[in-house]
Amino acid sequence: MPILEVNSLFKNYGKVQALKGISFFAEEGEIFGLIGPNGAGKTTTLRIISTLLTPSGGEVKVLGLDVQKDASKVRKFISYLPEEAGAYRNLRGIDYLKLMAQLYSDNKKEAEMMVSRAIEIANLGDRIYSKVSTYSKGMTRKLLLARALMHEPKLAILDEPTSGLDVLNAHEIRKIIKDFAKEGKTVLLSSHNMLEVEYLCDRVAFIHEGQIVEQGRPEELKKKYGVKNLEEVFVEAVK
C-alpha cells in the first residue's frame, strides 16, 4: 500500500482554480518530488496533504487515512516543513526542539530521544544553546528540518527545503533528506530547482497551472523526451 495517495485533487480559492484534478502516489522509502514554477499549485497540494487546507474535490490518503476525516490521526504520522517556516525567536534552539518534542511524544523518555535525534540532525554544535533570533537562515533551516524529522514521521512533507540557502547549507540539507529516506521513510518535497530534484528524487511529478503534466522516474522521463535534464523535460512537457 502506498504511504501517500492523491486522487483527482481539486482546490478552488473563490473563482481561482488552483488545482485541477491532480493524482499521484508515493511509496514507502521513496523521495517524491513535486516540480513546477511559482504559482503552479505545489504549496497548495502540500498544505492539503498536511491537513492545513480542505480540498474542493478528490481525496488524499496517508497510510490509508483520509486527511479530511482522520486529520488528527494523520498528523501523528506526518511532519510538514513550510517554505518560509520560522521558529520561536525568543527560544533557544534546544528549547524549541524540546517544545516540539513534547507535542509529538507521549512521555518524557520519548521526548528526550527525539531531542537527541534532532540535535544530531541539526548538527549546530554549541549554537543549539543560542537563541533562535541569532541564527543565520541556514542554521534556522537546519533546526527546522531537524524538528521535522526528529519524531521519525512516516511521511515528511518538505516545501522548497533548500530555498534561499547557500551551496554548502543546501548540500547539507539534501544529505539529511537522503539519509532520512534510507531509513525507509517517505519524503514528499516540492521544488522549482530541477537539478536538486534530479539529485534527490526517486520519482517526480511536473505540475503546471494546477495540473500534473508528466510524472515518472527522472531517468525514464529524460529518455522519453530525449533530453539531458529534467529542466528540458519540463519545457517539453508543458509545450
Partner: protein
C-alpha cells in the same frame, strides 16, 4: 494535558519579554511616585493653613475679624502701604490668601451698614494646592460673618441665643436605598457607590485591553514568524492551541491589571485615608458593599464578559497577518468596550428608551459595568438576563472559533496594514 502545559509555557515565554517587564515595573513605580507626591502635597495643604492680614482699621469689629482668623489660620500681618506692596510681600512669603480690612470697617457695622472686606488670592501655579486654597476663601467669609453677627446679636438682642437666631433650622440627612433607611448624607452614600461603580469598570477595562492586545499579538507573531503552519500540523488539538494562547493572556493580564490597580489605588487615594474610612464605615453599617452572593454573581458576570472579549479578539486575530495589524484588529472590540465604559459614568441605563436600552444590553460589556448599580438597586432580573445573554454569546463565539479553525480562512484570510496602505 502534558502537551497543553507545554503550549501554555511556550505562550507565556513568548509573551513575557523585556518590554512587558519594563512596562510592568514602570506602571507600579509611576503610580507609586505620583501617589507619594500627591500625598505629600495633601499634607502640605493640611499643614499650611496660613493667611495674610492687612489691618487698616482699629475698631472692635476688626479685632473680632482678627481673632476669628487667628482661631482658624496662622495669621501673618502683611507689611506695606499699597495693594501692590501687600501682594508682592504675600507672593514672596508664599502666602496664597490675603484679607484686607479697610479703614472705617467697624464704623460701617456700628452704623448698621454692610461693611466690606477685601480678599485677595495670590496665584502662583494653578496647582491643586491653589485650587484647594480657594475653597478656604468661602469658609473665611462664613466664619467672619458668623462671628460678627454673633457679636451683633449679643449687643442688640440681649438675652437671645445667637446660635438659634443665626441657624434656627438643623438638618439630619437620610437616604432610602434597597428598602433601608440609611442615616448618612446622600453625598457620602453617592460617593461610595460611585467609587465602587467606577473601580469595577476600570479593572475590567484594563483586563480586556491587556488581554486582547496579548492574544492579537500572539497570533500576529505566529503568522509573522511563520510558525503557525508548523504548529497546526502537530498532533495537538486546535482547541489546545487556541486555549493555551487565551489562558496565558488571561494569566498575564490578571497580574498586569493587579499591578495597575495596586498602583492606581495608591495614586487615587493618596492622602484621603480619613474620607475613605468614613465611607467604609457607612458601607459596612448599611450593607452597601456586595454580599457573598453578589460577589459570586459579579465574578460570573465579569468572567463571562472577559471571555466574550477574548473570544471576539481571537476571532479577529485569526485573520491578522503580523503584529502591527494585530494592534489594529482589536479596535472593534475596544469600541464595544468604550461605549458602555464611558456611558456608565454618565447615563442612567434605566432611564433609556426600550430600544436604546436593548442596544446597550446587546453590548456584552454593559453588564459588568452596570452590575454594582443593578445589584444595589435590586434589578436582579436584569443581572440574570445579562448572565444568560453572555453564556449564550460565549457558546456561539466558541462554536464560531472552532468552525473557523477547521476552515481554510485561518491561512488564507488576511487583515494587513501593508495591504490597507
Amino acid at each position: 494535558m502534558r502537551k497543553f502545559a507545554a503550549l501554555l509555557i511556550k505562550e507565556l515565554r513568548e509573551l513575557i519579554n523585556k518590554q512587558l517587564i519594563a512596562s510592568f515595573v514602570i506602571i507600579i513605580v509611576m503610580f507609586q511616585v505620583i501617589g507619594k507626591i500627591g500625598e505629600s502635597e495633601s499634607k502640605k495643604i493640611e499643614e499650611r493653613k496660613e493667611i495674610g492680614l492687612v489691618m487698616l482699621d482699629e475698631g472692635k469689629y476688626s479685632k473680632t475679624v482678627e481673632t476669628t482668623l487667628r482661631n482658624i489660620f496662622n495669621v501673618y500681618i502683611i507689611e506695606g502701604n499699597t495693594t501692590d506692596e501687600w501682594m508682592k510681600n504675600a507672593y514672596e512669603s508664599d502666602i496664597r490668601n490675603v484679607v484686607v480690612i479697610p479703614e472705617g470697617f467697624s464704623k460701617e457695622i456700628e452704623g448698621g451698614r454692610k461693611a466690606k472686606i477685601e480678599i485677595y488670592s495670590v496665584t502662583k501655579s494653578l496647582g491643586i494646592r491653589e485650587r484647594i486654597q480657594k475653597t478656604i476663601l468661602s469658609s473665611i467669609i462664613n466664619s467672619l460673618n458668623a462671628s460678627i453677627s454673633r457679636e451683633l446679636i449679643l449687643e442688640k438682642a440681649r438675652g437671645e441665643d445667637p446660635e438659634f437666631l443665626t441657624k434656627p433650622i438643623s438638618t439630619e440627612e437620610y437616604v432610602y436605598l434597597k428598602g433601608k433607611i440609611i442615616k448618612a448624607s446622600s453625598d457620602a452614600v453617592f460617593a461610595y457607590m460611585m467609587q465602587q461603580s467606577i473601580f469595577i469598570p476600570v479593572i475590567l477595562f484594563l483586563l480586556l485591553v491587556f488581554t486582547s492586545q496579548m492574544i492579537a499579538t500572539a497570533m500576529g507573531q505566529e503568522k509573522e514568524n511563520k510558525t503557525l503552519e508548523t504548529l497546526l500540523t502537530t498532533p495537538v488539538s486546535r482547541a489546545s492551541i487556541i486555549f493555551a494562547k487565551m489562558i496565558s493572556a488571561v494569566i498575564l493580564s490578571c497580574v498586569f491589571a493587579g499591578a495597575y490597580m495596586y498602583g492606581f489605588r495608591g495614586y487615587m487615594f493618596a492622602g484621603t485615608g480619613g474620607a475613605l474610612s468614613e465611607l467604609a464605615k457607612i458601607a459596612k453599617n448599611y450593607e452597601l458593599a456586595l454580599p457573598v452572593q453578589g460577589i459570586v454573581l459579579f465574578g460570573i458576570c465579569i468572567f463571562l464578559s472577559l471571555l466574550t472579549g477574548l473570544l471576539m479578539t481571537t476571532i479577529i486575530s485569526l485573520f491578522v497577518e503580523d503584529t502591527r495589524s494585530a494592534q489594529l484588529a482589536i479596535t472593534p472590540v475596544m469600541i464595544l468596550l468604550l461605549i458602555p465604559y464611558f456611558l456608565s459614568f454618565t447615563i442612567d441605563i434605566m432611564e433609556l428608551s426600550p430600544t436604546a436600552k436593548t442596544l446597550m444590553y446587546l453590548i456584552p460589556f454593559t453588564h459588568p459595568f452596570y452590575f454594582y448599580r443593578f445589584y444595589m438597586l435590586g434589578y436582579l432580573k436584569d443581572i440574570f438576563f445579562g448572565i444568560g445573554y453572555l453564556i449564550l454569546l460565549n457558546i456561539l463565539l466558541t462554536a464560531l472559533i472552532i468552525k473557523l479553525f477547521s476552515t481554510d480562512l485561518l491561512l488564507t484570510a488576511r487583515i494587513s496594514l501593508k495591504r490597507a496602505r
